[in-house]
């Protein structure tokens, strides 16, 4: 059996599913990445500290806010800038907004059609308009929350080293807060929809890597931890993670202590589920997701769980900001200096690292960005081979669909991974 899906659909970016079997045995199973490289690490060189995050956020249209946050953290660490508690709260809220918007896109528009036997959500516009409207509502709520804070979800306007060029007033949050409260019903229906989807039975343990923060379910700040008990301070990520060039991918493959691993929603839920807000833990149980969960298809369920979590978290953060007040902190003057800094966040698709070195004029001299999807590719290739072995006896169409679904369940962000 020879399977070749050129330019897999319903994913961000260009990749091919390539697999073959001989007498029911797996000969090959890889995900080819054919996306054009945009050389972001090269073009950041020579740029001023204030231009760097503006450019770096443009690595990705879906997770621009994560890139901006990681980029700013790296620049601030390099230049010795401290940010205020208010800035951290606003950035955590930004991460919640992006996770809601990104996960909504995936669970509704990209992944769900696989389980409903559809090619896309388009047929549902006629058949089930309420579901389509709900999908747009959830996605747009995250998008509009980001707009309130930083002007635009893709690409943020007001984020600069040290803080923001402008901040929202407390009352600017009122309309979006009301929409987020109403969104609880939409997310209850989202959980219900995923409860009824038929998830393929397939288990494959791997090592799950994510950030962990002592105080909260972590998207911003914290150290790197793995399900095997490793713990690495953020700034020392190079002790654990390196990247290698592979022939079938314009994106490099990252390794964790030389081996394969998985990042993203499933890794975060597996590692940090105890810190989820209570309604998200309820959703987790309702979806039959029992950590540690080793079914890669359940990454979709983990995203639904995080939708519930991020909604509650966003409401909590908005209320915290409202009670302490929001002020524009005027002084963001930066003294150029030479130095290196590392920034890490949990982007919707997993651990994201930006690492910059600045020269004494405050110009970027060296940049290294490690993208979540690049960290999943090696794991995905091995997993495709194992899953193919399990389903190889099925008709070719079913095998092709199964492999496509497996890749999609990772929610790969391909152009971002190549950057």
């Amino acid at each position: 059996m020879e399977i070749r899906v050129e330019h897999l659909t319903r994913v961000e970016g260009h990749g091919n599913v390539v697999a073959s079997t001989v007498d029911g045995r797996v000969r090959q199973a890889v995900f080819e990445v054919v996306e054009a490289n945009r050389f972001f690490e090269a073009i950041l060189r020579g740029r001023d500290h204030e231009e760097v995050s503006h450019i770096a956020s443009r690595i990705c249209g879906i997770c621009a806010l994560s890139h901006a946050c990681a980029s700013l953290q790296a620049t601030e660490a390099a230049l010795g800038l401290e940010v205020s508690e208010q800035t951290v709260l606003l950035r955590r809220l930004i991460m919640d907004a992006e996770t809601i918007s990104s996960h909504a896109l995936h669970v509704y528009f990209l992944a769900a059609p696989d389980y409903l036997g559809l090619q896309s959500v388009l047929p549902l516009i006629q058949e089930d308009p309420e579901t389509v409207k709900r999908a747009f509502r959830v996605k747009k709520a995250g998008y509009d929350l980001a707009e309130v804070i930083v002007g635009r979800h893709t690409h943020p306007v007001s984020m600069i080293p040290g803080g923001f060029t402008s901040v929202p007033r407390v009352r600017d949050f009122e309309p979006i807060r009301a929409r987020l409260v109403a969104l609880r019903d939409d997310l209850a229906l989202t959980v219900e929809m995923y409860q009824h989807l038929d998830v393929p039975a397939f288990e494959r343990p791997t090592e799950y890597v994510s950030l962990r923060h002592p105080d909260h379910y972590c998207f911003y700040g914290g150290d790197i931890v793995s399900s095997a008990g490793e713990q690495v301070p953020a700034a020392r990520y190079l002790e654990a993670i390196d990247e290698v060039v592979v022939e079938h991918s314009t994106a490099k493959h990252a390794r964790w202590y030389g081996g394969i691993y998985r990042v993203g929603a499933l890794a975060r839920v597996n590692n940090n589920w105890r810190q989820l807000h209570a309604p998200a833990q309820e959703a987790m149980r309702a979806l039959g997701l029992v950590p540690p969960c080793h079914n890669p298809f359940q990454n979709n369920a983990a995203q639904v769980v995080e939708l519930v979590h991020c909604l509650e978290d966003a409401l909590m953060l908005i209320d915290t900001l409202a009670s302490r007040g929001i002020e524009l902190e005027e002084d963001h003057h930066v003294e150029p200096r030479a130095g290196r800094g590392v920034g890490l966040v949990e982007a919707p698709r997993g651990l994201l690292i930006h690492d910059y070195t600045y020269d004494e004029r405050g110009k970027c001299e060296h940049a290294n960005c490690i993208i979540p999807t690049a960290q999943n590719y090696a794991n995905l290739d091995e997993e495709m081979a194992e899953y193919l072995a399990q389903i190889a006896s099925e008709p070719e169409d079913a095998v092709r669909r199964g492999l496509e679904m497996l890749v999609r369940a990772y929610d790969p962000c391909i152009s971002c991974s190549t950057h």
Binding site: E12, A36, A42, I62, K140, G151, H155
Partner: protein, 276 residues
């Protein structure tokens, strides 16, 4: 109606080297997008649907061209489309990775892929118009969602669309925002095409020039502002290089002297089906 009355206009989305943020901006329009989707037939959109037909009327193409091997795909899209819409900064002016052109391709490949560099392809970053005729450019990094809807409406009723041709300063002033130069910062507003409603200056930031050089820049006024605020042409070109292959044009205009630049020939407004 300019299109065939027996069927809804067929729309296809494509992308080349980009972040896909402009397509995401389209997907984030929300309910008005559902109405648009009802009046057309989306027949290909790799990012969002698995349906796939090469029979389409309107091609919406995001991204820049960076590899010669991608050109035939773009040309096939152009041949099949009655209307080709270039979506966003990468497709219209090169976009935020256009400054890769400052380095030799081999150096960039070696930097990323090391000794395996020879296995990978790269080339000059250029907008779609370097390879094919573009009917309607939608500028911006990312695009403005309202402008996308306007362009689609114009296209569907067969009305010509011409992109905004004033500078960002115009929209900034209309909104009454404080001039960025007054705050001591360099801003590309005086020479950048508007249509963004000055979103960056509305948030206390400056214009980075993501919509490219306005058709007929008032360079003498722009350079007066620079002089008055002690900013240099080098700084302007450096900032302009973030997005636009036309950064050298800014230098040219400056060196042509302190007079109003001779406008380049303005493009003919485009009509649905005019090139078929």
């Amino acid at each position: 109606m300019a299109h065939r009355p027996d069927r809804r206009p067929r729309v296809a989305f494509f992308d080349f080297a980009c972040c896909e943020g402009c397509q995401l901006t389209v997907l984030s329009i929300g309910e008005p997008l559902i109405a648009l989707l009802a009046s057309v037939e989306v027949v290909q959109w790799r990012e969002a649907i698995s349906e796939k037909s090469d029979d389409f009327d309107i091609a919406v193409v995001e991204g820049a061209i960076t590899r010669d091997s991608d050109v035939p795909r773009l040309k096939r899209i152009r041949e099949r489309a009655k209307t080709l819409i270039a979506l966003g900064a990468c497709a219209t002016i090169g976009g935020p990775h256009v400054s890769a052109n400052r380095w030799p391709t081999q150096e960039l490949l070696s930097l990323v892929y090391g000794e395996k560099a020879a296995q990978f392809e790269a080339g000059e970053v250029r907008p779609l118009s370097a390879e094919v005729k573009v009917d309607i450019p939608i500028y911006g990094c990312p695009i403005n969602a309202d402008e996308f809807l306007t362009v689609m409406k114009h296209t569907l009723i067969g009305r010509p669309y011409r992109p905004p041709a004033k500078a960002v300063c115009y929209e900034c002033k209309l909104n009454g925002y404080e001039c960025v130069y007054e705050k001591g910062m360099l801003c590309l507003g005086p020479v950048t095409r508007c249509g963004c409603n000055a979103i960056c200056t509305s948030r206390g930031h400056r214009c980075f020039g993501c919509r490219g050089l306005v058709d007929d820049p008032n360079t003498s006024a722009a350079f007066e502002v620079l002089e008055e605020h002690g900013k240099t042409l080098e700084e302007v070109v450096g900032l302009f290089e973030i997005y636009s292959i036309r950064a050298p044009r800014v230098r040219e205009l400056a060196e042509a002297g302190p007079h109003r630049a001779k406008p380049e020939k303005a493009p003919e407004p485009w009509r649905f089906g005019s090139n078929t």
